[in-house]
Amino acid sequence: MQRILAMAILSLSAVFFGLTTLIVFGKVWREEVQRHRRKRRRELEPKLLAYAHGDAASLLPALGGELRRGDRAVMEQILLDHAQRVRGSEYAKLSRALDELGYVDALIRQLKSRRWWRRAEAAEKLGLGGAKRACEHLIPAMSDEMAEVRMRAAKALGTLGGTSSIRELVHALNEPNRWSTIRLADILTGMGRSVVDELTSYFDSLTLAGKLAALDILGRIRPLHTVPWLEQRLDDAEPDVRARACHALGCIGDPRTAPLLVRALDDEAWPVRAMAAKALGKIARAEAIDPLCSAMRDAEWWVRSNAAHALRAMGPRGAEALEDVLDSEDRFASHQAVLMLEEMGVIDQRAQHLVGGDGGGRAEAEMFIKRLIAVGQIGRLRALAADPANAELRAVLLQLLPAAELQTEAGR
């Protein structure tokens, strides 16, 4: 028993001290390395910057002909830090220095490392450092088994550019990881118009997630010549595809697509209807007004809301349409209409007409206010009635508003 006891206490104490020692030594070592690196950085960085800003063709002379082995890590860090923050001729110089000092070759070798994080690191650094000749090595990295490696390779390819990488990147949209798809989409969007053709021609081979990402990218790049192709997507079997196509068309904003979007307002899937409404708001054509008013009575919340916002975006004509919706039997539709009118400032405007306008205007304004009261959403009116600044308006409003509503702070 005593032996067990002794062993237990001894082993636990040993582990405890072992851990503590580990922590302490680890910390000491790390701090030393950092201190050394900071010191070397202070000496090397100005030389690098002088080279970058200046006319020298090579960095080596400034370094005395060669780079010390102990400085390799520091120099790489400095080069990459600055390279990712600039563009243009200085970027080219930094990139050249990176190659000249042998880092690019080392990183290309590191792409084949057995440890995944080394591969990922290599891919990332190659992208930051701008070595175009690394592209052919990065392409196989996009099929790496680790998602992190794939993504960094994709990002690197996106930065290094080159049309050869576009195909790979578009194909990579079939990536199952949604986070990665977003990053890929960002990379592709950043490459601009050059990706559009590849996107549309490869579209059918993409998975659903890939298709949606592709449509989002098109919505951000907004290439006008894809409008006919996008209109065809409105007939796709997948509702999500139809919805995103609507969204993309709205972003592009070609008024000729309005009729097709109006048709999409009757789609059986509510996301499509919602996106169609949103898109029509961006396009703002008169022929869409009536369909949007009907859409405000849709069963789905998002469709109603988007339709209301769309009408709001249409200015005076939209306001007229919203006023008509006030009389609707559908309470949600009428409520939404009130909210939109409030946000457009129409309620305040009409309230002013109550006191400022002529006889006809005053009557009209009164009718309007009464309709608002009938709907039951009088929050804004109450707020106006409580405002001490405009006494005349207060008086008139207090007359119109049902007395009971004002006394109680009762909720709805």
Partner: protein, 128 residues
Amino acid sequence: MAAARILIADDDPITTRFVSSLLEGEGYEVLVAEDGEHAMQLALQHLPDLIVSDLVMPYRDGYEVLRALRNNERLTAIPVLILSMKDREEDIVRGLEEGADDYVVKPFNARELVVRIRKLLRRTKTRL
């Protein structure tokens, strides 16, 4: 003629080191601030001829610095160039509307930055 004095406000030390050496190489005198508040202090103290400022900074962001500069009669004439990662249309428009004289997006082209700075300085000199 004394060299023009430029104040750089950015919380990223790598950017400030890069831009400092860039501008010093062009013959300017450079002051560095790591945050909005420090930037205002230095501006009041040294009255720089130009300010290059980031937008996202601790203590006081770029927009607040802009507003403070424009509200201060001693500092309002100083041209301000924004150097920021925010590259959306809304951000650029907002920066210019809030009082910036120019807006350069990061990652930036160093040559271009130098030329824009030179232009802004020339304009204020003729104004004086």
